[in-house]
């Protein structure tokens, strides 16, 4: 099947020079293919349907791992911010307690909130660590050498049109259709977070800061809103990641159901998903 030859064509023309820019999804795919496929056997194996299908799936998997790893990197910084709001709340509470302004009961309420949430964050932090290490494992590099971009590319303002499926067999139509519906939903959610929810949370913190200035609310209310804002940003990153994963899945569905000239897997351009779009 010709499409698999195209995949290999991309993989095999790589020079082996590490990218000078931040590692893009396509970089990751090239490096991973070189590591896992090129050394394992003769090139003509790729023309066998089973091998080719496995490779396409592998490409999708590496790209997915890349999106997850970049999102995880972003999320970890925000996790630190959430934790900092809790630490500060507890420390302010301790200051108040030291000054004789807070009961032992109220101090413990701040402390237990901090401890409970921090405990929950530990698991989340490990998950994010694993997301990054999985990509490092797939491309065969040390985590510190990956050179991931700081953030995922912004979600485009409007979603891609429904791919033409009329010529496909019913099973393929259905899988592309399903992937497209999921893609549309992920797009709507990610856009809502980027365009509405996160900006609103930011404005809310700004307004709360003004109220704090006027002694209309206290430090704990201010920290709670900073925490809500950081949480919304975390969810926004998750939504952005899910969009790019859905986009990746849609592409995969298209590739496995189309003739190769319709959709090359490693198409450069708007769909790369990397901030800055470097290739």
């Amino acid at each position: 099947m010709r499409r698999h030859a195209i995949i290999l064509g991309f993989a095999l023309c790589l020079t082996g020079i590490a990218p000078a820019h931040a590692l893009t999804a396509d970089d990751a795919v090239r490096i991973a293919l070189r590591k896992h496929i090129a050394p394992t056997g003769p090139i003509h194996d790729a023309a066998e349907p089973d091998v080719a299908a496995a490779m396409t799936e592998f490409v999708e998997d590496v790209r997915g791992a890349w999106f997850r790893a970049v999102a995880a990197r972003q999320a970890l910084a925000l996790l630190d911010e959430v934790r900092e709001t809790l630490d500060l709340s507890a420390e302010f509470a301790q200051s108040l307690r030291d000054a004789g302004n807070l009961s032992a009961l109220d101090l413990m309420r701040h402390q237990v909130l901090q401890a409970e949430t921090t405990a929950g964050l530990a698991v989340l932090r490990a998950d994010l660590q694993i997301e990054q290490e999985r990509l490092a494992h797939l491309v065969g590099m040390a985590l510190s050498d990956l050179g991931l971009p700081d953030k995922l590319a912004d979600v485009p303002p409007s979603p891609a049109a429904a791919p033409p499926t009329a010529s496909l067999p019913p099973e393929a139509q259905w899988s592309v259709r399903t992937a497209h519906l999921k893609y549309l939903a992920a797009h709507e959610r990610a856009r809502a977070y980027a365009a509405t929810i996160v900006p609103l949370r930011r404005k809310i913190t700004e307004e709360t800061t003004l109220r704090f200035n006027g002694m209309l609310v206290d430090i704990f209310a201010l920290l709670a809103d900073v925490r809500e804002q950081a949480s919304a940003s975390l969810t926004a990153i998750e939504a952005e990641r899910d969009f790019w994963l859905a986009e990746n899945a849609l592409r995969y569905a298209e590739v496995v159901s189309h003739e190769p000239q319709a959709a090359p897997v490693l198409a450069p351009g708007a769909r790369s998903g990397a901030a800055g779009g470097g290739h």
Partner: protein
């Protein structure tokens, strides 16, 4: 500048006090004030002579003589009031403002007061403290039908005794008063020499609960008001009363808020000479420097402005001399915060430590606040921040002030060597 508004041309009305179609054309036009600052009324040119009061941040309604009747026209309507520079409130009032215009008459006057209802709900006007026929008392459902939306009623009665009175709705009154519907009604003695003073000030005490960043009062608030106001104004928006040294001064105060206010004047002692019940016999007066004005009551105090200076004049409930503040917030006083400031600034770049030395800091700093929200403490004087809000103003006594001069003379220059000093 008085702006004029057209009268409504409603259909004929039902009810004893309703104005018939035929008489609508005879209603005097409603007058409107020029703004939220004090407008010193002109001396009367028609009707019996009297010495008008000066309503702080208010004005007195003009009237039309119609035979032996003195005719006024109140329009109950939504209004916008500047509470102090930097904040506007959406209130209900009369003739474009809250409070409505002060109505002034003379003992023995026959008054005819037209009331047009431009609110979205029925209203009435009760003439608080006045002796009048039962059907003119203005209690909706009890003494009269409500004034329906868009209709004009007329009240007619004789001012049988002089004194200090007020008017307000007796229809959905919790809401209508929480929205600012009220006004002063002063009846002067028939003999202008009786109870004569050189300066006669008047204001109503009210309170609002307007959420920071909002502009309409919460009408269901019972106790937690955040704007403690005189004539719907708060410091530094309350105009300063002034007096020439040696002048006899009267200050009339009516309380239509939901709590009492111990009103305190520095530098002088005064006597309560009049309540909404009438004049207090001289033998029954005693000197004091603070008088509590109970809810739904009025007090007029009199004194000779003997002592030159800038004298604080305020409610003595200290939270009533504050602007809006948070309730149930953490008490930061004496708590160490500086060691956390840098970390806070990383999260909130505009962060600044508040309240750990007490709240006085706030009076000195101009921190950005939510829109349409007044600071908890503000204002400055010749020696620094005043750090005040709410029911606070300055009573200024000066030598050689002209009898009709009500302009703010600026800060008092204390004689050398008479200022508290560091030793």
């Amino acid at each position: 500048m008085l702006s004029r508004r057209n009268l409504l041309t409603g259909a004929a009305l039902l009810g004893a006090a309703a104005v018939s179609r035929a008489s609508l054309s005879a209603i005097p036009e409603a007058a409107y004030p020029a703004g939220p600052r004090t407008q010193v009324p002109p001396l009367p040119t028609t009707g019996r002579p009297f010495h008008p009061v000066v309503t702080l941040n208010g004005w007195s309604a003009p009237w039309t003589m119609n035979g032996e009747w003195k005719e006024f026209h109140l329009v109950a309507e939504p209004v916008e009031r500047q509470i102090a520079p930097g904040m506007r409130a959406k209130l209900w009032g009369y003739n474009g403002q809250s409070p409505g215009p002060t109505i002034e008459g003379v003992e023995g006057d026959k008054v005819r007061i037209f009331v047009t209802n431009k609110l979205a709900e029925p209203t009435t006007v009760h003439w608080h403290g006045m002796i009048l026929p039962n059907g003119m008392d203005g209690v909706g459902g009890l003494t009269q039908p409500y004034i329906p939306v868009g209709k004009t009623f007329v009240y007619e009665f004789e001012l049988v005794k002089s004194g200090t009175f007020m008017y307000h709705p007796h229809a959905d009154e919790m809401v209508q008063m929480a929205m600012g519907m009220m006004g002063l009604f002063i009846v002067h003695p028939r003999d202008p020499a009786e109870h004569r003073v050189d300066r006669d000030y008047a204001f109503l005490i009210n309170a609002y609960d307007i959420a920071p960043g909002a502009s309409t009062p919460s009408v269901a608030t019972m106790t937690d008001f955040n704007l403690w106001s005189w004539n719907s104004r708060v410091f530094p928006g309350i105009d300063v009363p002034v007096a020439g040294q040696g002048e006899r001064v009267r200050i009339r105060m009516g309380n239509l808020s939901m709590t009492s206010h111990p009103i305190h004047l520095h530098g002088h002692s005064f006597e309560v000479t009049c309540t909404d019940g009438g004049w207090v016999r001289e033998s029954a007066r005693w000197p004091e420097v603070t008088t509590d004005v109970p809810v739904g009551a009025m007090r007029a105090v009199e004194f000779v402005a003997e002592n030159e200076g800038d004298w604080a004049f305020h409610c003595h409930k200290s939270h009533h001399t504050m602007g809006p503040m948070g309730h149930g917030t953490a008490n930061m006083i004496g708590a160490r915060q500086d060691h956390l400031e840098e970390r806070m600034i990383k999260l909130v770049p505009d962060f600044m430590v508040m309240g750990n030395h007490g709240m006085g800091d706030m009076g000195e700093m101009e921190m950005p606040l939510p829109d349409n929200t007044l600071p908890m403490m503000t204002g400055s004087g010749p020696f620094g921040a005043l750090a005040m809000g709410g029911m606070f103003t300055v009573f200024k006594v000066r030598k050689g002030l002209g009898p009709r001069d009500f302009t703010d003379p600026g800060w008092y220059t204390q004689p050398a060597g008479t200022t508290a000093r560091e030793v």
